[in-house]
């Protein structure tokens, strides 16, 4: 960890004169009357630095520092620092903050320039629960399976003095005309043993592509809370279905034919494909584009582009194919090109891993063979060999 911090400083100091860091940047604790607790942070600075330390903010008066000065010896680039917080008997509900500030004073350089005064703060945040039963919540929407399913996530946290026994949510989906097109319910959870939980529900939309509004009603112990979130259905209206490079010859200019399907019920103009081929360090080795064309509604089209493979070697290359359309929209697909002398295999279309390459397939094969072998051994012994031996023994 320490080596990492030193390396970070070494890299940035090649371009920057002065640097300072602290970790963690924030700690959050729950209030308890008269709570006394100690914390430790790690401060990163150049060797030989001297920092002044102070506590500020609303909770500053409750913070006791281990020292008001932090000195870095030569060769020392990180140091631990501890402080203690001594909370009062009462605080108002909500969040309260205090800061511990590490300040490096400006110094004059040999050439007469003055460095800036630099300071970093680590925060301590104390949360005081609200009276009664109270929750905080947030609504998030994810697309699953390339937009075929929509996942709604309602994050709920108990922020009141009393536990919440039961929380659930009902999510209504409205189209742009304000018409309700779906209503989904999540499961029910309790916040008694845990402070935060997630409620999830999955919807398979059978509606046209477009923008929709999710309205979640969170129901907890007789109370309700309303959340809203706008989202899109069928955002990825263009899908890359196939990539072919017939007559592939490494070292020559190769013709690519990429099949794209338009899943929307309208024509899409200005569609073109951009392909980037990367090395292991994610540096772009090659970048080529197709021509710009239109795709009719609910139809497919082949886009042609050319890749100059001069200088490339046999091997696997991470690749990105981006379908750009309608001016500033795009759909990206990460693939891998398995380049050989006279063949190109494209990995990643249709499945994240091709079925034959999954590690679990190999393990299942070994398990099945092992079990079959075991069953055969047992059958052979109990149904055949044993009977013969027993008959022989009885004679």
């Amino acid at each position: 960890m320490r080596l990492f911090f030193v390396l970070v400083l070494a890299v940035v100091l090649t371009g920057f004169v002065s640097g300072l860091g602290v970790t963690p940047g924030r700690v959050t604790i729950d209030f308890s009357p008269n709570l006394k607790k100690s914390f430790e942070v790690e401060v990163i600075a150049s060797p030989g630095t001297e920092l002044s330390v102070s506590a500020t903010g609303e909770l500053g008066k409750y913070i006791t520092l281990s020292s008001q000065v932090l000195k870095f010896r030569e060769g020392e680039s990180s140091k631990k620092f501890s402080y203690e917080i001594n909370l009062p008997a009462n605080l108002n509900s909500g969040n309260h903050e205090g800061n511990i500030i590490f300040l490096k004073k400006a110094e004059e350089e040999r050439d007469g320039t003055i460095q800036a005064t630099l300071a970093v703060a680590t925060q301590i945040r104390v949360f005081v629960p609200y009276s009664g039963k109270e929750i905080s919540s947030g609504l998030y929407v994810n697309q699953l399976e390339d937009g075929r399913k929509v996942q709604f996530i309602v994050q709920v946290s108990s922020i009141g003095k009393y536990d919440v026994a039961s929380v659930r949510a009902n999510i209504d989906v409205f189209n742009r005309l304000g018409e309700k097109v779906a209503s989904i319910n999540t499961g029910e959870v309790s916040l008694q043993d845990k402070k935060s939980r997630e409620l999830t529900a999955v919807w398979e939309p059978k509606v046209p592509v477009g923008k929709y509004l999710a309205v979640a009603t969170v129901i907890y112990d007789g109370e309700t809370k309303r959340l809203e979130k706008e989202f899109s259905v069928g955002e990825h209206v263009l899908e890359l279905q196939e990539v072919r490079a017939d007559n592939f010859r490494l070292g020559e200019i190769v013709k690519f034919e990429m099949l794209v399907e338009n899943k929307w019920n309208q024509k899409i103009d200005d569609v073109h494909l951009e392909t980037k081929v990367f090395d292991d360090n994610r540096e772009v080795l090659s970048h080529f584009k197709s021509s710009e064309e239109s795709i009719g509604p609910l139809s497919k089209k082949v886009f042609t582009s050319f890749w100059d493979t001069a200088g490339f070697k046999v091997g696997r290359y991470k690749t990105e194919v981006e379908i750009d359309y309608g001016g500033n929209n795009s759909v990206r697909k990460d693939l891998e090109f398995d380049v050989r002398e006279n063949e190109l295999r494209v990995i990643g279309l249709g499945y994240v891993i091709s079925e034959s390459e999954k590690e679990s397939n190999r393990i299942v094969f070994v398990l099945v063979v092992g079990i079959i072998l075991l069953v055969l051994i047992n059958l052979a012994w109990f149904l055949w060999i044993r009977k013969k031996l027993k008959a022989k023994a009885e004679k």
Binding site: F4, L13, L20, G21, Q115, A116, I353
Partner: protein, 159 residues
């Protein structure tokens, strides 16, 4: 003779049980790292065998996990917080916990009449800019971002 038969019965049953235990034990994902309770301020490198993916979530129920395909990538950058993760192949591994610690870091260098301020940490920052003792402005710096400002004192803290 019967005694010998019963002995072989026992040996075969014992061998079968032991073999099944070995087989199913072998099929479990092997999780090399990171260790349970690991803490870092940057990207995490997952080292697993006999697994296709790693699930990472901020809750141990894995209600909305991030799925890392370990055949394509073993490294992931996460925002500061506590995470739970497990490897999945034919079977799942046990759940481990890791923490991404927030790291507040500011770098400055003189540029013209002012200073270029860089957020070198892993969280977005609010930076107070002072001219001597007077607060001039408050700027936001996303992680990795820099801004040129006029002032001679900069105080950075988490947003």
């Amino acid at each position: 003779m019967m005694r010998r038969i019963y002995a072989i019965d026992f040996a075969i049953v014992l061998f079968s049980l032991a073999f099944m235990v070995f087989l199913f034990g072998w099929a479990q994902p092997l999780v090399v790292g990171p260790r349970d309770g690991f803490e870092t301020t940057r990207s995490v490198l997952f080292s697993v065998e006999r697994a296709d993916k790693v699930l990472i979530d901020d809750n141990p129920d894995f209600t909305s996990p991030m799925v890392l395909d370990v055949r394509k990538a073993h490294k992931v950058e996460l925002k500061p917080g506590v995470y739970f993760w497990k490897a999945e192949g034919v079977f799942g591994s046990d759940v481990r916990r890791l923490t991404i610690k927030s790291f507040v870091s500011l770098e400055v260098r003189p540029v013209g009449n002012g200073f270029e301020v860089l957020n070198a940490g892993n969280v977005d920052l609010n930076v107070l800019v002072y001219d001597n003792k007077t607060l001039v402005k408050k700027i936001s710096l996303e992680k990795g971002a820099s801004k040129t400002v006029r002032g001679n004192k900069f105080v950075g803290g988490m947003k």
